[in-house]
């Protein structure tokens, strides 16, 4: 659905009298399949928004190529515009307009006739649970309501792909969960959804596949589970008394599913395993047979932050 090769963009910035070139995006290759939620994860300033704006025809790339929904980005941006929807990060509604007016106008900007535009607006208002507020001015809406209007604007013309730039930034937890449901609903309707986010949990819970971006480059790409598994495997923390730790270590060290075994100071073991879910019952059985009592068992799955840390050498939370 989206295919990019070597997409590049630099900006010239001026500090005093000196011109400096900033390479915002340095050669991005992406392959996004139809009907998936694809997430672009990275810290602020990584180049996510710049890439998105290039794909949405808002800025021209300096180099590289891209095909979006079958249309060539560089040669036929007008066709790309017809096939995609784009929802910007900072909002896109006018304070003194109503949601209905905005939806009708936006549909008509895509060349949709008046009557059809009204029908679509009505349908979108219902789908996003906005009918109640449809004729109030946008400035009276809550953050979550306004964001829903903006997403509805982005898909009013039934695009095959919709780009959502940080769709949940600034929303309270409840509106955020609500927004996730809306995004999943779009996927269920067959739309390809491309989002950017700097929230780890969002990329993890919402996206089918993600690309991790840092300093203008994609440093990792895959399913959230796959990426996490790739870096380290999962870790089991087995809580034991100091007295029994040695014996337990001897027992478990030879088990085939244990990739690595370390003892923890003050009692307990730290086991690196391929898959925690299948390892837990085996560990329990083994220790039980030997009559060793354990105080706790805890499964620690690597997070996307661990992935980011492995790939970039720093934590996403710090950058």
């Amino acid at each position: 659905m989206i295919e990019t090769r070597g997409l590049r963009k630099s900006f010239r910035s001026r500090a005093g009298r000196q011109h400096k070139t900033v390479d915002a995006v340095r050669g991005v290759d992406l392959d996004v399949a139809e009907g998936e939620i694809f997430g672009f994860l990275g810290p602020n300033g990584a180049g996510k928004t710049t890439t998105l704006r290039m794909l949405a025809t808002l800025i021209a790339p300096d180099g590289g190529q891209a095909t979006i929904a079958g249309a060539d980005l560089l040669r036929d941006p007008a066709e790309v515009r017809r096939r995609i929807g784009y929802v910007a990060q900072g909002g896109s509604t006018w304070d003194d307009s109503t949601a209905r007016e905005e939806l009708v106008l936006h549909a008509r900007m895509y060349g949709i006739g008046k009557a059809d535009a009204r029908r679509r607006a009505e349908r979108a208002l219902a789908a996003f649970q906005l009918t109640e507020y449809a004729d109030r001015k946008c400035k009276t809406y809550s953050g979550g309501q306004r964001r829903r209007v903006e997403i509805a604007l982005g898909i009013i013309h039934d695009p095959r792909i919709v780009f959502l730039d940080e769709p949940t930034t600034g929303l309270d937890p409840q509106s955020r969960a609500h927004m996730w449901d809306e995004i999943r609903r779009l996927r269920a309707e067959g739309m390809t959804v491309f989002i950017t986010t700097h929230y780890l949990d969002e990329a993890d819970a919402l996206c089918d596949r993600i690309a991790i971006m840092d300093h203008g480059e994609v440093v990792a790409e895959g399913t959230p589970t796959g990426l996490k598994r790739e870096i380290s495997g999962e870790v089991l923390l087995v809580g034991l008394d100091v007295a029994t730790t040695g014996q337990a270590a001897q027992l478990l060290d030879t088990e085939p599913y244990v990739a690595k075994l370390e003892t923890v100071d003050g009692g307990g073991l730290r086991l690196t395993v391929d898959e925690g879910a299948t390892a837990i019952p085996q560990v329990l059985r083994r220790l039980d047979h030997a009559g060793l009592a354990l105080n706790s068992i805890e499964l620690h799955r690597p997070s996307l932050d661990d992935v980011f840390l492995t790939k970039t050498g720093r934590s996403l939370r710090e950058s």
Partner: protein
């Protein structure tokens, strides 16, 4: 066809929003009326005009051109607010014509200026101004072209500077000499030779002369076609330039 439809769409939206804000409608009418009521009475003695009607013939066209210039030049502020709200970016991801994004807005400015002009003309009629309808329509065409140019330029500059803080001083700096050198408030016939020489290079000075000739019923005056042509060319250039800014503006 698509272009005309897109322009109409933008025009409709902008007009609707303008009318929704009664403050602007009120200010737009109130200001020129104040000029007419509080400033114009000084003119008969100042210009040494034989009658009040003669004084109005000189002052009203100047006032109308003034409104057209200023009305247009400050439209960019509204656009900066739209930029900030993300409305422009939202329009730019649709296939809507870029020229229509500009022209729809400028057309609203032209129409609201013409509405002001009609109100002022009607009021001036009460003060015994007399002008032929054909001449008046040509004068309105001149005003429309001026407003089209100044509003387009203002939008283009707004897209370039993207901040009110930069736009305000810039527009004031442009507007002030343009105003003083166009003989709007007082005709430049009173000016010393060097000042007249400088004013020759001000296109608005030609526009004011042309409009005054029309109000005087002097359709055959060369200033009329000269003023109209100069302003028409500049308006076309201004629109072309500003439309390009709409096509490539970033955020």
């Amino acid at each position: 066809m698509k272009f005309a439809r897109d322009t109409w769409l933008v025009f409709q939206r902008q007009t609707q929003l303008l009318l929704r804000n009664p403050v602007w409608v009120f200010v737009g009418v109130f200001q020129p009326v104040m000029y007419l009521l509080l400033f114009a009475p000084l003119l008969k003695p100042a210009l040494n005009a034989p009658t009040q009607a003669e004084a109005y013939k000189i002052f009203v066209p100047g006032l109308l051109v003034l409104l057209a210039i200023f009305g247009g030049l400050f439209q960019g502020f509204g656009l900066i607010a739209e930029l900030r709200a993300g409305v422009i970016e939202r329009s730019r991801v649709t296939p809507v014509s870029r020229l229509a994004l500009l022209l729809g807005r400028s057309m609203r400015d032209v129409v609201s200026l013409l509405a002001q002009a009609v109100i002022i003309t009607v009021l001036a009629l009460l003060f015994e101004l007399r002008v032929f309808i054909g001449d008046l329509l040509l004068a309105y065409l001149m005003l429309a072209l001026i407003a089209l140019m100044t509003s387009a330029v203002s939008y283009g500059v707004a897209l370039k500077v993207k901040s009110e803080d930069a736009l305000a001083p810039l527009m004031n700096t442009v507007a002030q000499p343009v105003l003083l050198l166009s003989g709007i408030l007082l005709p430049l016939t009173f000016a010393p030779g060097w000042l007249q020489g400088v004013a020759e290079w001000n296109p608005f000075s030609w526009a004011v002369d042309g409009t005054r000739a029309l109000f005087a019923g002097d359709l055959g005056n060369d200033k009329v076609w000269q003023g109209l042509s100069i302003i028409a060319v500049l308006a076309a250039a201004g629109v072309a330039w500003a439309a390009r800014q709409f096509a490539r503006s970033v955020r």
